[in-house]
Symmetry: D4
Subunit: 218 residues, 8 copies
C-alpha cells in the first residue's frame, strides 16, 4: 500500500532530552529517526547516545538521519529535480533533498544557476527534463525570480522554496516568497520560507505517486 510522509523531529525548539526521547520512539517504531535543525548544543549528545547506529548528517542544514540496525531504505523510483539559485540556498536545498531521498526518491541536483546568468541554466535544465523527472523543486532567495523562469520552461509541476537570503526591504525571503506567489508562469506552488522539509515531503509525495503507478505497471 502507498506510503505517506515520514515523521520529522523539528529540533530547533526542543531540549536535548526531548530530541533523544522522540528519536528513540521513532527508531523503535519505524527503524529511522529524522531530526531537522539540530540545535548546536544537542549535536554531540545525540551523536554519543546513538554512536552504535548508522547515521547521516548534513552540516549546512543541521539535519540528521539515524537508522536502526537492519534498516534498509527502500527505493521507490520517484524522480525529483532540485535546482537552487545561489550558494547560500544550498542548506535549504539539501534539507529538501535528504527528505525526498529518505522517501525513496532519486534527486538530481542543479546548483548555483541564478537569473543573473540565465545562459548557465538552459543546458542543465534541458538534460534534467530529458531524464523525465516527476517534479522540480526550485530553491531561491533574494528576488525569487528563478522558480517563475523554470516553471515557464518546464512541463512538470514546480514547487518553489523561498530562502531567507537577502537584506533590506523584502529581505529574509519575503520578496522571494511574494514573487513566487505572484508568478506569471503556470504550475508553480510554494511552501514557506526556508521550509526545505515541507518542500521535500510534497515533492516526495508527488514523485512517489507517479512512481507507484509506474512501478506497479511493470
Amino acid at each position: 500500500r502507498r506510503k505517506g510522509a515520514p515523521e520529522v523531529i523539528f529540533g530547533e525548539t526542543k531540549t536535548t532530552e526531548q530530541i533523544l526521547a522522540m528519536a528513540q520512539g521513532l527508531l523503535a517504531g519505524t527503524g529511522r529517526a529524522i531530526i531537522s535543525r539540530m540545535p548546536a548544543q544537542s549535536l554531540e549528545m545525540v551523536k554519543e547516545v546513538f554512536a552504535q547506529y548508522e547515521m547521516r548528517y548534513q552540516e549546512a542544514s543541521r539535519m540528521m538521519v539515524i537508522y536502526a540496525p537492519g534498516y534498509t531504505r527502500r527505493s521507490t523510483g520517484g524522480r525529483v529535480g532540485l535546482i537552487s539559485a545561489g550558494t547560500s540556498d544550498i542548506p535549504v536545498a539539501e534539507e529538501a533533498a535528504m527528505i525526498a531521498e529518505e522517501m525513496g526518491c532519486k534527486v538530481t541536483r542543479i546548483f548555483d544557476v541564478g537569473v543573473a546568468g540565465l545562459h548557465r541554466l538552459i543546458e542543465p535544465l534541458r538534460s534534467l527534463l530529458e531524464e523525465d523527472i516527476d517534479v522540480i523543486l526550485v530553491v531561491a532567495g533574494m528576488d525569487g525570480a528563478l522558480p517563475s523562469v523554470i516553471a515557464g520552461l518546464s512541463p512538470v509541476p514546480v514547487i518553489g522554496v523561498p530562502t531567507s537570503v537577502g537584506y533590506g526591504m523584502g529581505g529574509k525571503g519575503v520578496a522571494a516568497l511574494l514573487s513566487m506567489l505572484q508568478t506569471c508562469a503556470p504550475g508553480l506552488a510554494v511552501v514557506n520560507i526556508d521550509n526545505g522539509v515541507g518542500a521535500g515531503i510534497t515533492a516526495g509525495m508527488i514523485a512517489n505517486r507517479v512512481a507507484h503507478t509506474r512501478g506497479s505497471r511493470s
Copy 2:
C-alpha cells in the same frame, strides 16, 4: 508526448478588444480559448462574437471556455479531489475545477465542510481517498485551517488555495494564506489568495503525470 498547461486569458485587466483578439488567436491555434475573470462589461460582446461556438460559462467565477467546432476535450484519467470550506469559497473552487477538467482530469467535489463542523468532513474524505485520488485541492478563507486538517488525514499531496473571504485583521485571505504556509501537517503546498487558475493547473499537472504513467501501463 506529455502535455503541460493550457494558456488562460486573464480577463480582469483587459479591454474587450484585447480579450476578443487573444481568444481568436487561441481558438485558431489550439481549438479552445479559456478566459478567467471575464469583466462584466465584456461578457455580452464575447458571447455575441462567439455565438456560433460551443461554450461553457461559470457565473460565480466569471470563467468561460469557448470551443472551436470539432474540438474534443481529451480525458486523461487524472483524478483531482476538490474540497471547499464554505459557500463563499465556491467561485474560486469552481475556477480551479474548470481548469483541471479542461486539462482532462476528473474532479470530485466536496463542498461546505469547514473546521467548525469536522464531523461532516470525515465520511466524504474517506470515500474520496478510496477513489484513489491523485491530488487534493483544498479551498478555504478566514482561518484557513481546513487544508492543514485535510493534509494531516491524507496520504496524497494537498494544494491549499486561500480565498479572500474574511474581514478585520488577517482578512481578505491573509490569515488563511499564512496559516497554510505555517502548516503543521506534511505535504501541503499553496498558491496565492483566490488563485483558482494556478491551483487547477498545478493539480492538473500532478494528476496528469500520474495518469500518463497509469495510462501507458495498460
Copy 3:
C-alpha cells in the same frame, strides 16, 4: 466578596533590585508574589533572598511563585481545561496553568495534540467535556488551527493563546494569532502571542465566576 486577578510581576524588563522590591511588597501585602519571565541573571539572587519561603518554580516558563509563611492557596472549584498543540507550546501553557491554579482553579491538561493528528484529540477532548469544564484554553503556534477545531467541537467558551513558534512568513505566532482572529468557529476569543499570563487570568476569572455561583449554591 468576589475576587479578581492576582498582581503578577513581569520580570523580563526589570532589574533584580526592582523584582526583589516588588516581590517583598506583594508578600507583605497579600502573602504571595508571582513573577513571570524571570530574567536568567536574577534567578539565583531571588532564590537566595527568599530561601526561607515556600516556592514554586516552573523552568520552561521561568515563572515563580513565592509564598509567605502561613499562606494557604484557596480552592475555588473553578475548572479550566488546557489543551496545547506541540511540545514547544508547553512553556506558555504552563504559564497559563500556574496563574489559573494560583487563582484557585483546577486545571486539566491535554498536551501534544496538533491538527496534524486529529484522531489523537477526539478521545481526550470528550473526557474533558465530560468533566463539565467551565472554559478551555487552547495554546498553539504555527498554523494556529487547533483552537478553531476545539471551539467547533465544544459548547464552552474557548480562549486561544497563540505562541511564537514557527518561522518564515507568518512565523513567531503571527499566523497563529491571525488564524484565531479569523476563526469560523463560535465562541473563541484570544489573547496576544505568548501571553500565558493574560490567558490564565481570563480563564481564571471565567471559571471562578461560575464556581462562585456553583459554590454558593450548596
Copy 4:
C-alpha cells in the same frame, strides 16, 4: 443539557437565493434564523418571503432575526454588560447585543463613554458592576483604550471588540485591536475587528454558563 451558540448566516458574501435557502433550513430545524450583514440588495426579498413571520431587524448593523410561528426565546438569566466608546461603534455593539439576547441573556448598555471624557464613565460603570454582571463587552475603535481602562476597574472578564473606526496609520481598527492585545490590564480577551457576532457569542456562552449554575441552584 447546556446549550452552545446559535448558528448565524453571514450575509455579506451570499446571494439572496443562498440566504433564503439557509434561513428556511434554520427555521425548519430550530424555529429561528439569524442573518448578519444582510446585503442591501437582499433585504426586500427576504422581508417579502418571510412576511408572515415575526421579525427583528437592526438597521445600523443590518442584522435580522426571523422567528417561526410559536417560537419563544428562552430567558437564561445570563447578564452581559455592553459598553461602547463612540456613536460610530453602535452598529457593532448592537450586533453583539442582539446575539447575546438571542442566546437568552439580559444585556445592559452603556453607550458613548470614550477615554477622552473618563468622568462620564465612572458612575455608569459602578452601577453596572452593582448589577452583578457576568461579563463585559467593550466596543471601541480609534485608540482602543477603553477596554484596558474598563478591565483595570472591573473584577469580571472583559471581551474587547475593536471597530473599524479611524483613518490614517492604525486606522480601520488596527490600532484598536493591537492596543487591546497589548493591554496592561488583567482579564481582557479580544475578538477581531467589527466581529460583533463572535463577541456576542463568547459573552453569551460565559454568561449562560454562570446563569446555568445560578439557575440550577434555586
Copy 5:
C-alpha cells in the same frame, strides 16, 4: 547648457480649475504643458479650452501633452529601450515613453515578453542592445522577475518600474517592487509602483547626458 526634467502636472488630485491654471502657466512659460493621470471629469474641459492647440493624448495612461503654437520638440539623440511584461503593463510603459520622448529621446519598445516565455525575449533584446541603447526601462507587475532577467543579460543601466498588476498577497505591485529591490542582477535601480513619469524622467536624464556628450562630439 544641458537641460533637466520637464515639469509635469499630476492631475489625479487636482480640480479642473487647478489643472487649467497650471497648464496655462506652463504653456506661457515653456511652450508646453504635460498632464499625467488626467481625471476623467476634467478631460473634456481641458480639450475644449485648448482646442486651438496641438495635443497628444494617450488614452491608456490618461496622459496629455499640449503644445503652444510654434513649439518644436527638440531631438537630443538619447536612446531609451522600453520593455514591458504583459498587456496590463502598457499604460505605465506608455506614460514613461511619452515623458522620455518629450525630453527628446528616441524610445524603442518591446512589449509583451514575460518571464513565462523567455524564448520570446531573447531575439528582440539582442537587437535592442545592438542599437547601442543608453538605458533600459523594464515595466512589470505580478512577480516582477523580468527586470532582473534583463539586467542580467544587458551591459547598460536598467530602471525597473513595478506596476500595480496582480492580486492576493504581494499584489498591486508590492511583490514586483520588492523582487526588483532584492535583485541578484547588477545594475538595476527602481522607481515606485506605477511611477511611469519618474521612470521616464530618470531614463531621459541618463540618455540625454550620454547624448549630450555624443552630440557635442561631432
Copy 6:
C-alpha cells in the same frame, strides 16, 4: 534672543573615536556635550578622557552630559510635566527629562501610573496641573492608552512618547504608537518609539517659549 535646541550626539551608531571628537568639538564650542545611547564599550574611555570635567550620567538611559569648566546651566522657568506608565518606561522618560533640564526647564515627574490603575493617577495629575505646567510628556509602552487618558483630562498640550515595551503582535512600541496616533482626545502629538531625546527637545521648546514670554513680563 530666544534659543533653540542643544545638539545631541547619538552614540549608538558611533565609534569611541567619533564620540570623543564630537564631544570635544561641542565642549569647545558651547561648553557642554550631550551624548545619548552611549555604547557600553565607549563608556569607560569617555569617562577617562573627560575625567577632569563635571559630568552627569544616567545609567538606565545611557545618557551623559559633560560640562566644560565654568559652564553654568541657565534656568529658563519653563515647566514640563513628565508622566510614565510603568517601571520599564523610566529610561526613556529620564532621557527626555535630562534634555528638557539641559534646556533650562523644571521637570516634574509622575512615574508608575498605568491605565490598569487609574485611581492612582487622578491625584498626582491634579497637583501637576495646579503647578500651571506648560506641556506634559506622557511615556508609555504596551497598549499606549495613558497619553489619551491624560490628554482627555488636561488643558495643556501633551506629547506622547511610545516605548518599545511589550511583546507579541503590536509589541516593541508599535501598538502604543498607533494607539496614540489614533487618539480620541484633543491636543496630543507624538514622537517615534523610544525617542526620549526628540520628546524632550519638543517639550523644552514649547515650555521655553512660554517661559520666555513669562520671563520678559516681569
Copy 7:
C-alpha cells in the same frame, strides 16, 4: 481661566440626524458648532436647518462652523505658522487653520513650497520667523521631507501633518508619516495622516499658552 480645545463633531461616520442633534447641543451649550468631514449627503440638510445662523464653510476640507446669534470669536493673540508642500495638501492644511482660528489664533499661511524647489521656501520662511510665530504646522504628503527641512531651519516647535497624497509603496501618507517620525531635525512632533483637526488643536493650545502669558503681561 485658560481654555482648552473646542469640541469638534467628526461628520464622516455619522448620520445627518446625529450631526444635527450634536450641533444643536453644542450651539445651545457653547454658542458654536464645528463639524469636520461633513458627509456630502448631509450638507444641504445642515445648511437648511441652520439657515438663520452665521456659518463658515470650507469646501476643500468639508469643514463647517456654525455660530449662534450673538456669538463672538475671541482673539487670543496666539500666532500659528502654516506651511504646506503641494496643492493637494491644502484641504488638510485649511482644516488645521480653521481650528486654530476658531481657538482665537492668527494663522499665517505659506502654501505650495515643496522640497523639490527649496529656493521658493527660504524667503517666506524667513519672514514667518520674523513675525515671532509661536509654533509651525507643516503639512506634506508623498516623501514628507518638508517638515524635517523646516524644523532644521526654525527655532520654534514644529508639528508635522502627513497627508494621504501619493500612490504605490508608502503611499496614502505612510512614507510621509514615517519620514517625519524618523526626522533628523530637532523639535518635530507629529499627528496622524490627514489629521488636520488634531494638528490645529495642538498648535492652538501651544500658541494660546504662549499668548496667555504674553497677554497677561501687559
Copy 8:
C-alpha cells in the same frame, strides 16, 4: 568594447572556504576579486592566503579588493558624485564608492550634510555640479529626505541609497526607502536599504556610458 559590471562576492552568507574558492576563481579569470561584507571570522584567513597580493580593505564596510600581480585598474573618466547625510551612513557610502572606483570612475565625496542643516549642503553641492558630474549617489538613513532635496536642486540623475540607520517605526531604513520612493523631485531612482554595491554598479554604469562617449570623442 563597452564593459559592464564587475562580479562581487557577497561574503555575508558564505563560509571561508567558499569565499577563498570564489576569490581564487575571479583572480585567475579577471585578475581581481571584490568581496563585500567580509565575515569577521573569515578576514584573517583571507588576508593570509592572499598575503602576496596587493589588497585594498575598507574597515567600516568590510569590503576587500584583491589584485593579481600585474593587474592595473583602468580609468574610464566616469564622474560620480557621492553625498551622505550622517556619520553612520559612511560605511554604505564607502561600499558604493569602492565599487564605482573599481569600475574606473572618479568619485567626489561630500559627507555629513543632513537636511537638519541645509546651509552646510548648498556650497559643496554647487561645486560638485560645477565639476560636470555624471550621476549623484545620495546615501541617507532615518528620514531619507536628503536625496529628494538633492534631486530637486540637480540636473543630473540621482540614485538614492537608504541606510538601515534609525530606530522605532520606519527604522532600519524603511522610512528612508519609502520616502525616496515617494519623492516629489524629478530624476530619483533607488536601490534597496544598505545596498551600496548595487548603487555603485548602477552609478558606475551610467557614468561609464557617458565617459565612453566622452572618451571616444577626443
